[in-house]
């Protein structure tokens, strides 16, 4: 199962500001009633973007100048709350290829890496600058490079960071771990034989 090597993401960005952007806001629970992830395109941030009658709330994602954006610029603790992989799946299936934020919730970060959606951290100041430029010049073509860990756009060249293992996995096309997890069956079975496995006694 060859995976694509993810070394850079190039394109427009869209700001989704605010700290603690929880996964209920990224995808409300009513959209979770699906048995595959195929139907999730377009559901991201649904209640943040639309009123109950379907009219737009004027969220940046729906602003014409941000149409076609591939990078989300977020705040602190992005993706907190529920472990629902539906959240990064909805983001990815809505055409987003990377998220740059101040920090990420652990589970969201792992889920995103595992489906090849890079999540990189930038400082508060860097994100303020990136958001400002994106608002002033929405057509700015940003380059998020995992090779040199920068986010470049216009005159800006902003440092970004991510755990080395995740960067390595994405760059080497090894972000889907299942293949490598199957490489040590004897060691796994040795542990399986040794570790207790609760069974009913009545």
């Amino acid at each position: 199962m060859p995976l694509n090597k993810i070394t850079e993401v190039i394109g427009k960005a869209v700001p989704v500001p605010g700290a603690d952007m929880d996964t209920d806001r990224i995808i409300p629970a009513r959209f979770l009633k699906c048995i595959t992830f195929d139907e999730l395109a377009g559901t991201m941030f649904y209640d943040e973007r639309f009123n109950a009658d379907g009219s737009s709330k004027g969220h940046p994602i729906d602003a014409p100048q941000h149409a076609g954006a591939v990078i989300i610029l977020g705040g602190e603790n992005f993706g907190c709350g529920s472990s629902r992989e539906h959240a990064p799946q909805a983001i990815k299936r809505s055409g987003i290829a990377a998220v740059v934020a101040e920090s990420f919730a652990e589970i969201f970060f792992g889920n995103s890496t595992g489906i090849g959606l890079p999540c990189v951290c930038a400082s508060h100041d860097a994100l303020v600058q990136a958001m400002r430029l994106t608002e002033q010049a929405p057509d700015t073509a940003w380059t998020l490079s995992l090779a040199d860990m920068t986010l470049r756009g216009g005159e800006l060249c902003l440092p970004v960071r991510m755990p080395e293992e995740a960067r390595e996995a994405l760059m080497q096309g090894r972000w889907d771990a299942v293949v490598e997890l199957m490489n040590a069956p004897e060691a796994v079975e040795a542990l399986a034989a040794r570790m207790p496995n609760p069974q009913p006694h009545c």
């Binding site: 605010g18 209920d24 595959t36 529920s82 472990s83 919730a105 542990l191 069974q199």
Partner: protein, 471 residues
């Protein structure tokens, strides 16, 4: 230098190091429910892989289950499909399913400890962030995504990096009317909703040692609301007493050996922590959230805070947005705020001890006019116990609807939802925007006794005054 429980369990379950530097970690138990598993089984099918250790998987339906009428087929066709997918996948792969007729169905985080499947020293994962709950018995338990559920189904292992460990020490005696829920909300309020990023929380200290197991489950359940992917408590005699005699707990000589083994996982006295924070039990008030993140909380005697008093520009913005969503003004006392709905239940506070604590307070009292009050036991076993003890009758006579077990109004994936901008006094775990099923619904998190006080007065109230819980 000694080791923490986290490190001991991590080391004992390490298979090896992957090329990208992550650890391949052996997983003892995978818990499954209907919302985050069907996609994983579909991925497995696509790869043509079997379930490697079906005997290490345990499933129960909880999120979408109706709590009123369970006659099948369900009116909600999508919910019915998710339930039938769970049944099909468990049957096809030989996975144990605690379905409705078993009498052992319930919220996954309630059922597994109650059956004694959750044991000390284990690595436990589930496609649900509140898997942190199971750390209460002294295990590493964490929420994972669906692709990782697939990884565990296929390989019984995960690619992970270890967390740092923060000792969260609480000492002293909790005052009357103050519960594990208040302790958790207090800690999250002080350390922040993102305070635990990168950490596992070891809850320790005399206050924690004094807590019964249900209270410990509540506390660890909420670790994730403070961004700690797992929270745990060192196993002790209370842990062993809780497990003894449960259907999946060892018996006879195997029990004695298990207890010895379990004890060995407890953090060493000289264990080194990456961080230590301390709290005093006496400082903790009955706590209520006022905003849209679990760290936006205040003591019952306090007023809704002002953005002007926020420590920085970001929190100022967050507070302003929260106040706008909650339709609250700074300076408003939280006590006396009218509520429309009361929800007692969820994996946080749907335990037998939660209902036992509330029942005597409700005896002879009535839910305030105009308030809709739901009591939803977390599991069929808890429901049975409540019925045997007459607790359900007390709740019903007070005007509560006594429902069947499930996640219910914690995340409103079934028919139990807020309507419009109703305010709910809720014993659940998240006050996020829209969390309880209405995109404009408002949630105030609190303990079961505080929710009971809100039910009988029709507004946020100090349970200590309402029920005369004296010092």
């Amino acid at each position: 230098m000694g080791k923490t429980l986290y490190r001991k369990i991590w080391d004992a379950h390490t298979v090896g190091t992957l090329p990208d530097g992550r650890t391949q970690l052996f997983i003892d138990s995978l818990y499954l429910h209907e919302v985050t598993s069907p996609q994983a089984f579909a991925m497995l099918r696509e790869l043509g892989l079997p379930v490697l250790h079906p005997e290490r998987c345990y499933a129960t339906p909880d999120h979408i289950i109706p709590t009123d009428d369970r006659t099948e087929p369900y009116a909600d066709k999508r919910a019915a499909t998710m339930l039938s997918e769970l049944r099909r996948n468990c049957k096809e792969h030989g996975i144990r399913l605690f379905d409705m007729p078993s009498g052992q169905q319930g919220i996954v985080h309630m059922v597994m400890p109650e059956l004694g499947i959750t044991q000390p020293g284990m690595t436990i994962v589930c496609g649900d962030s509140h898997t942190a709950t199971h750390g209460a018995v002294g295990s590493i338990a964490m929420g994972i995504g669906t692709t990782q559920v697939r990884d565990v189904l296929a390989t019984q292992t995960l690619a992970m990096s270890p967390l740092k460990v923060r000792a969260v020490r609480v000492t002293g005696t909790l005052r009357p009317g103050v519960t594990a829920k208040d302790v958790a909300l207090h800690i999250i309020g002080r350390l922040g909703a993102k305070g635990g990023l990168g950490y596992a929380y070891e809850f320790c200290g005399s206050t924690i040692e004094d807590m019964d197991m249900d209270a410990r489950l509540t506390l660890c359940n909420l670790a994730i609301e403070g961004a700690a992917r797992c929270g745990y408590i060192n196993p002790d005699d209370k842990t062993f007493a809780y497990l003894k005699g449960r259907p999946y707990a060892p018996t006879g000589a195997a029990w004695d050996a298990a207890v010895e083994r379990w004890k060995s996982f407890a953090s060493d006295a000289d264990a080194e922590y990456d961080d230590v924070v301390e709290f005093r039990a006496e400082d903790i008030e009955p706590t209520v959230t006022w905003g849209i993140s679990p760290d936006m909380s205040i003591g019952i005697g306090e007023v809704v805070p002002s953005p002007e008093d926020a420590p920085d520009a970001e929190s100022r913005k967050a507070r302003t947005a929260a106040l706008e969503y909650m339709k609250l003004s700074p300076g408003t006392p939280i006590e006396g705020l009218p509520v429309n709905v009361v929800f007692i239940g969820s994996c946080t506070n749907g335990h037998i001890s939660d209902f036992r604590a509330v029942a005597p307070l409700l005896r002879g009292r009535k839910v305030a006019p105009g308030v809709r009050a739901l009591a939803v036991p977390g599991s069929q076993m808890t429901d049975r116990q409540c019925r045997e003890e007459g607790i359900d009758t007390i709740f019903r006579e007070a005007g509560f609807e006594w429902r069947l077990p499930g996640c219910s109004m914690c995340l409103a994936m079934n028919a139990d939802k807020l309507v419009g901008d109703e305010i709910c006094a809720s014993t659940s775990n998240r006050n996020f925007k829209g969390r309880q099923g209405s995109p404009t619904g408002r949630t105030l998190l609190m303990s079961p006794v505080m929710a009971a006080a809100a039910a009988v007065t029709g507004c946020v109230a100090d349970a200590r005054k309402v029920f005369q819980l004296g010092e």
